[in-house]
């Protein structure tokens, strides 16, 4: 199936000379949740802003469901809802007025039933007549989501949707995003919280220094890059790895009191049994052992560090 968003050779150089995007190619599949991870200044917001029509690309092309964002901008934009990173709201308007305004702006006739459903879904119904400025930060964030959903978009961009939102509310938001995905909306979110990407996304894109470093299905990424490690706490510290164990990828840590063995999760045989036997043969005794799987966060940090 044709990707819902196709980005080709996208570059952006700001007037200051800063090159925010250095040739981005990206396909976003219909109905998926793509998490864009990247350090501050990697180009996440610039990328989103170009697709949504807020920033002009220097070169390259973007199509949204087959519509070029420049030539066929009306059709392309009608499909997209955007939740910006900053809490920018019309302070003096009521929740109902500001959400209804957004629907009109995107060319849809007024439909109170749709607005009502959205506000109820986002637990904003009892606040519908409240002025936006009287709401808490978490509620304002939900108002922004309601505005983005008001015209029933097929694609939703969430630029750091849970920044500054408390843990409980974050859970609620994840559930809501899951429901949206189930209804067929394609969701692209940027985040600093690796936990968020790990929890929700089908695909992970990593962007760093204005380039897409990788795009991968989450499970495949975890498997491909995920390392497990076995840590043995030794009874007596070692000053160096004994030459008999040179075949194994071992490192010493904690001043020689810990022996760390890295192994690949994809291999059938991990080599743990053999290693433990050999240790016993050479009289190296241990008091405790533990295994760990690297999280997406570590994968991410390693990736960005490698490219830097």
């Amino acid at each position: 199936m044709q990707p819902i968003i196709e980005i080709r050779g996208l570059t952006k150089t700001y007037a200051s000379g800063f090159q925010a995007l250095k040739g981005v190619d990206l396909d976003i599949r219909r109905g998926e949740i793509l998490a864009l991870l990247g350090p501050n200044g990697a180009g996440k917001t610039t990328l989103i802003s170009i697709v949504c029509g807020i920033v002009r690309a220097t070169s390259g092309s973007v199509t949204v469901d087959g519509h070029d964002i420049r030539r066929d901008w009306r059709a392309a934009r009608s499909l997209i809802g955007l939740v910006p990173q900053e809490l920018t709201t019309e302070a003096f308007e009521s929740v109902w007025a500001t959400v209804s305004f957004s629907r009109g702006l995107f060319g849809k006739p007024p439909n109170p039933a749709v607005i009502e459903r959205i506000l109820k879904d986002l637990s904003l119904w009892d606040k519908k007549d409240t002025k936006v400025m009287a709401l808490s930060g978490g509620m304002k964030r939900r108002v922004l989501i309601a505005k983005a959903l008001s015209h029933e978009p097929r694609i939703l961009f969430l630029d750091e949707p849970t920044a500054g939102v408390d843990v409980e509310l974050r859970r609620g938001m994840w559930e809501m995003i899951g429901r949206l995905r189930d209804s067929g909306v394609t969701i692209i979110l940027t985040t600093h919280y690796i936990e968020e990407a790990e929890e929700m996304a089908n695909s992970i894109g990593v962007i760093s220094g204005g380039r897409i470093v990788l795009v991968e299905e989450k499970a495949a990424l975890m498997q491909k890059l995920g390392k497990r490690q076995l840590t043995l706490q030794l009874q007596a510290p070692l000053s160096a790895i004994p030459p008999e164990l040179a075949d194994y990828p071992l490192t010493l840590s904690e001043g020689g009191r810990e022996l760390v063995y890295r192994f690949d999760t994809q291999q059938e045989r991990t080599g743990i049994a053999g290693l433990l036997r050999k240790l016993g043969d050479h009289g190296i005794t241990y008091t405790n052992l533990r295994t760990e799987e690297s999280s997406l966060e570590e994968i991410f940090v390693n990736l960005v560090r490698e490219r830097a």
Binding site: R74, R77, R103, L105
Partner: protein, 253 residues
């Protein structure tokens, strides 16, 4: 044509007017009443009539024009500057709304408000002085043309300004002086010859003159010239707005 968007912007902006009814309508009406009391009643009695029109009646078109053009500028500039300042402009930029539709929405709402204001001032003036309108259709035409032109000017100002100071400095240092020196309170024929010539470079003179002609059938400038100059000003503002959207000036980077 995204008619729903035009409607949304237009109603949204008018709603802002109702919300701030005291500042946006009552303020100008009260200050105009004060002008009538001070100039019309207190001082006006000492003036002889100008070209057969009593000084109080002479004041009416000028005062309406002055309020309409300053309020058009400040209202339209605020309308578009506010979303830029608060950041909510992102929504407008990402919406399937063309530049033309945006301008109709914002400028239309600002001009509508000015027309309401102009009408209210005329009604208020009727309480103080007796006046007649010789050419009502032209009167409305001048009022609409001025409201639209100066709302466009305000729109441009609201996009150009990058701070509240700039937003206020143009009305304060340019629009208000031009309005005061535009013959609202006097006939420019009362000025020394040198200042009469200088005055010819003030576009407000033509607006006030044309508007006054529609009331009393006589004015400082030929009415065709007034109309022409107003249309020229409108054309200039339209060109600047067109250029702003074409280049994305201060809207998109």
């Amino acid at each position: 044509m995204n008619l729903h968007a035009i409607r949304a912007i237009y109603l949204f902006e008018l709603a802002r007017t109702w919300r701030t009814l005291a500042q946006s309508i009552a303020g100008p009406v009260i200050s105009t009443s004060l002008y009538f009391v001070v100039f019309g009643a207190a001082i006006g009695g000492r003036f002889t009539s100008i070209e057969g029109v009593s000084y109080g009646a002479f004041l009416v078109p000028g005062l309406v024009m002055m309020s309409v053009l300053t309020e058009s500028v400040s209202n339209a500039s605020f309308g578009i500057y506010m979303p830029r300042y608060s950041g909510t402009i992102y929504e407008l930029l990402s919406a399937p709304v063309s530049a033309f539709e945006t301008v109709i929405g914002y400028v239309g709402a600002a001009a509508t408000k000015s027309l309401i204001l102009g009408t209210l001032i005329l009604l208020t003036a009727r309480l103080f002085v007796d006046f007649s309108i010789a050419h009502p259709v032209w009167m409305v035409a001048f009022l609409v043309l001025t409201s639209v032109t100066f709302s466009l000017l305000g729109f441009i100002l609201g996009i150009w300004a990058d701070g509240w100071q700039k937003l206020q400095i143009v009305p304060m240092l340019i629009v208000t002086p031009l309005a005061f020196l535009g013959g609202s309170f006097y006939s420019i024929k009362m000025l020394p010859p040198f200042w009469q010539t200088v005055t010819l470079f003030n576009p407000v003179v033509y607006l006030v003159s044309g508007f006054r002609w529609s009331f009393y059938g006589a004015a400082d400038m030929p009415v065709a010239l007034s109309l022409g100059m107003t249309a020229l000003l409108l054309a200039i503002c339209l060109a600047v707005v067109w250029w702003i959207f074409r280049t994305g000036y201060k809207l998109k980077n």
